[in-house]
């Protein structure tokens, strides 16, 4: 690899520059690097989303109290009392009418008369340390607060985290597909260049060139072309990501598609990886063609 980077001026000159394979390689590497930046951003964003959902939902639970009229307040107090004495719970508080209204607003609008509707009282529970014993708490609540239903979010947390995890896996799969496609395209371009230079290869062999020397001349050229194209594609991709709108609470997932902090360094791995793919693809194609031509 060091010899590849240092180069051999004469070996480079031995193979004439071939226009269309050069352009094809640079364009392919640029396009694939551009797509890879977005696939990487998708993968990282979904990873962050999965972690955040898992973290937030795992640390909180909700207690819903549906009691007959007149008993709501007493049952709420009793529930809070139970929760305060339950190990593994750091805080428990009843949601105010305003908070309840805000939760329902997306579905019923801002003018919902919460106070006139039989809406259950919600209590937010924040776990501490290893969390609480849900079975034990349910048993206590059943005895002391008959209208209470404990929801530890397991039921809807799992599919959400699972979906985010799958999205992340799709992003990684897309990156692998991009690497594979880049390798395949560069292999085709290298084979075309080798076929176009059959006479050159024959002359080099006749003057005593070993296959590794001939392959190196092609491999270095294609590796550098892929590196150049990937640098351009990565720069364009990073600029595109940079110009995306800032993430905000209302924006949801799409505006969160981007890199955070040191994550901006990750796309910089794409050009060397593209060069590595080109190196492997061209070397394999060159040695295969040279073997077949002997």
């Amino acid at each position: 690899m060091a010899a590849l980077l240092a180069g051999d001026k004469m070996a480079d000159r031995a193979v004439p520059p071939t226009g269309f394979t050069a352009r094809l390689t640079v364009f392919t590497a640029a396009a694939m690097a551009f797509l890879a930046v977005f696939a990487l951003a998708l993968s990282l964003a979904t990873g962050r989303l999965a972690d955040r959902w898992a973290e937030e939902l795992a640390r909180t639970s909700t207690l819903r109290i549906s009691a007959p009229e007149g008993q709501q307040e007493a049952q709420t107090r009793a529930a809070l009392s139970v929760l305060e004495t339950t190990p593994g719970i750091s805080a428990a508080r009843a949601l105010s009418e305003e908070e309840t209204r805000a939760l329902l607003e997306p579905w019923f609008g801002p003018d919902l008369p919460v106070e006139t509707l039989p809406i259950p009282q919600l209590i937010e529970i924040v776990e501490a340390g290893e969390g609480y014993d849900a079975t034990g708490l349910r048993a206590r609540l059943q005895a002391e607060v008959p209208g209470a239903v404990l929801d530890d979010h397991t039921r809807w947390r799992e599919p959400l985290v699972d979906a985010a995890g799958r999205l992340r896996a799709l992003g990684v799969f897309a990156l692998l597909l991009i690497a594979g496609s880049t390798g395949a395209m560069i292999t085709l371009a290298a084979q075309a260049a080798l076929a176009a230079n059959e006479q050159v290869i024959r002359v080099l062999r006749l003057v005593g060139a070993q296959d590794s020397y001939i392959a190196r001349a092609f491999v270095r050229r294609f590796t550098l072309r892929a590196l150049t194209g990937a640098l351009a594609g990565t720069a364009a991709g990073m600029l595109g990501i940079f110009l995306l709108p800032e993430a905000d609470a209302a924006g949801g997932f799409l505006t969160g598609l981007g890199f955070r902090g040191a994550g901006w360094l990750l796309p910089l791995l794409i050009p060397p990886l593209a060069a590595l793919v080109a190196f492997a693809a061209t070397r394999s194609a060159a040695l295969r063609v040279l073997r077949a031509a002997s």
Binding site: M10, A11, R13, A14, P16, Q199, V200, R202, V203, L204, R205, L206, V207, G208, A209, Q210, D211, S212, Y213, L290, R291, S294
Partner: protein
């Protein structure tokens, strides 16, 4: 250095030649003659490992060609200078770089080599920066000879080296080959050019072999 023993070569279902023996030793000078299609070029290719005999043994510097991998054949070719009938240059490189190509592919720098002297020796100093297609037939042959000898090979093989050049130039080329032979190089030349053979025999102890009826035989006394 190069030995062929009971060698046969067939292709397309037909046998080109068989039971062929040839030994190229230091300081030997051989001419190979025969009608077109007799297999002269094929025989030369067997001598530098481009083709593998269908029967018999070919040894390059003591190694059986059949047991040599491609890299080893490439190393052996660096010890054999070949002048091809069609010269075979890299047309995008200047003449000087084409002549230095054997040095380049073997990882040796052309700087400090005798390339300038060699260019002067073959009379191509002024053409050093020209591209091969810009050279005349004779200049191409001389450039090919310079490329063949730049590694100071032990054997020089030439396929119709005077095929595309006039008499005066062929005499000049022969003089170069004779000079190399006197330096101890083995020389094998395939040619139809009887005047070249006669001129060479006047200067060196040359053996003339003829490929005829699928056999390699010593040529008649008239040569």
């Amino acid at each position: 250095m190069i030995e062929l023993e009971n060698v046969a070569y067939s292709y397309g279902g037909g046998e080109l030649f068989s039971d062929l023996d040839l030994s190229l030793q230091p300081g030997s000078f051989h001419f190979l003659t025969g009608p077109s299609g007799a297999g002269k070029t094929t025989l030369l290719k067997l001598c530098y490992g481009e083709l593998v005999a269908t029967a018999g043994d070919v040894r390059l510097f003591g190694d059986d060609v059949r047991g040599m991998d491609r890299d080893k054949v490439a190393l052996a070719r660096r010890r054999i200078g070949v002048v091809h009938q069609d010269c075979r240059f890299l047309d995008h490189l200047p003449v000087a770089e084409n002549i230095a190509l054997p040095l380049t592919v073997s990882g040796r720098s052309s700087e400090g080599s005798d390339i300038d002297d060699l260019m002067a020796w073959v009379g191509l100093t002024r053409q050093a920066d020209q591209l091969p297609p810009e050279l005349s037939g004779g200049e191409r042959q001389r450039a090919a000879l310079a490329r063949a000898v730049i590694m100071s090979p032990e054997v020089i093989i030439a396929d119709e080296p005077t095929g595309n050049i006039d008499w005066e130039m062929s005499q000049r080329l022969l003089a170069l080959l004779v000079e190399l032979n006197r330096m101890g190089k083995a020389v094998l030349i395939a040619t139809h050019d009887l005047t070249l053979i006669r001129a060479a025999k006047a200067q060196v102890q040359a053996r003339v072999l003829r490929l005829k009826d699928r056999r390699l035989v010593a040529a008649g006394a008239d040569l």
